[in-house]
Symmetry: C2
Amino acid sequence: MREVFHQSLEDVQGRLVELAELVTIAIEKATGAFGTSDVALAEQVIESDAEIDEKAHDLDELVIEILARQQPVARDLRIVVMALRVSASLERMGDIAEHIAQLTRLRFPERAVPRGLKSTFDKMGTLDVAAAKKLSELLRTEDLTLVDDIRDIDAETDDLHVSVFEKVLSDSWAGEPSQTVDATLASRYHERFVDHAVSVAKKVQYLAEGGEFYPTGETTNV
Amino acid sequence: MREVFHQSLEDVQGRLVELAELVTIAIEKATGAFGTSDVALAEQVIESDAEIDEKAHDLDELVIEILARQQPVARDLRIVVMALRVSASLERMGDIAEHIAQLTRLRFPERAVPRGLKSTFDKMGTLDVAAAKKLSELLRTEDLTLVDDIRDIDAETDDLHVSVFEKVLSDSWAGEPSQTVDATLASRYHERFVDHAVSVAKKVQYLAEGGEFYPTGETTNV
């Protein structure tokens, strides 16, 4: 029974990694499409979000089956419950990639990236992709040094997010209201994406360090 | 054992209702503070979010204890797993109330509500509070007619959200960029709040109607 259970846990872990990898592809395409106004690439992201939702759903079903048949307790139970939480965060990260793609499509053939903010959003996109890759690796290897890497990426992303508002609220800003709206939403999405990565990383770390429960109450900034 | 289990389930339900009621108070204060630039009221919301986070955390601990000790199966298991999902959504709704309060504090002593959008945001605030109240009642009574009420509120909120963008992007809009930013973020928060209420309502409905699993893949608009 223990062996069956540990095979199941490996299956859960494998599916979490797979989900994180799909999210990585989605955010890579979404931020790329946003930066280059590539509406065909944006469409791909929008279409493929259903696959992420379905895989998250299948993972949840697997977890429920494990709970019902193998009735894990103690630490094993916490791992399984954590998987439910992580799949919800990964699904939400996929939704955010889709939102970035939708902004791109909404403005096409105009550019969705507001003038003067191209390099900032390119950097934010690169950071989002780096966070998603580190997260996939963390879920695969449980190498906790990756948690700090993800936190560092989050700090950099937060600074860029603040810099977007500084730019938009500065006297030199000559953007149309539509560009102010786009900058606000796009910056928020890019920043939120990494928040979710941090939230997952903290859960993995907490369990890996023998914590009794995963942390809750993630803080987010406006 | 069955009786113990059903007492536990009642306890879970009672705590979900309590959490939904705290969220109702938070959104009522947050939208009120936003509309009247009442920074003291906004501070109350920001301070009390920790209580919502803590209660959600306690509820999750209770669910894990139930899973470990009583090892529910079939439908009972699904109810317990749903409670984990619902507590996460309620916690997130509390976070959104906090974000609205933070916007109010950020702009004080200026008004956070952009000129020309006061009545729109008043309506959105009223709809947010109505959705939270209906959701508390749904969790308490399982009266499924409330699900449609919440969906109706969501449709109205979406329309107002679109109207905010129409206003901000119209030729008549004379707001500063800071007001455009505030309108964008505030509208998004008000609208997202009801999205979460719909997501919870759908889960309650699905289980009440004997569904095998709660629906995933909530759709959100930009």
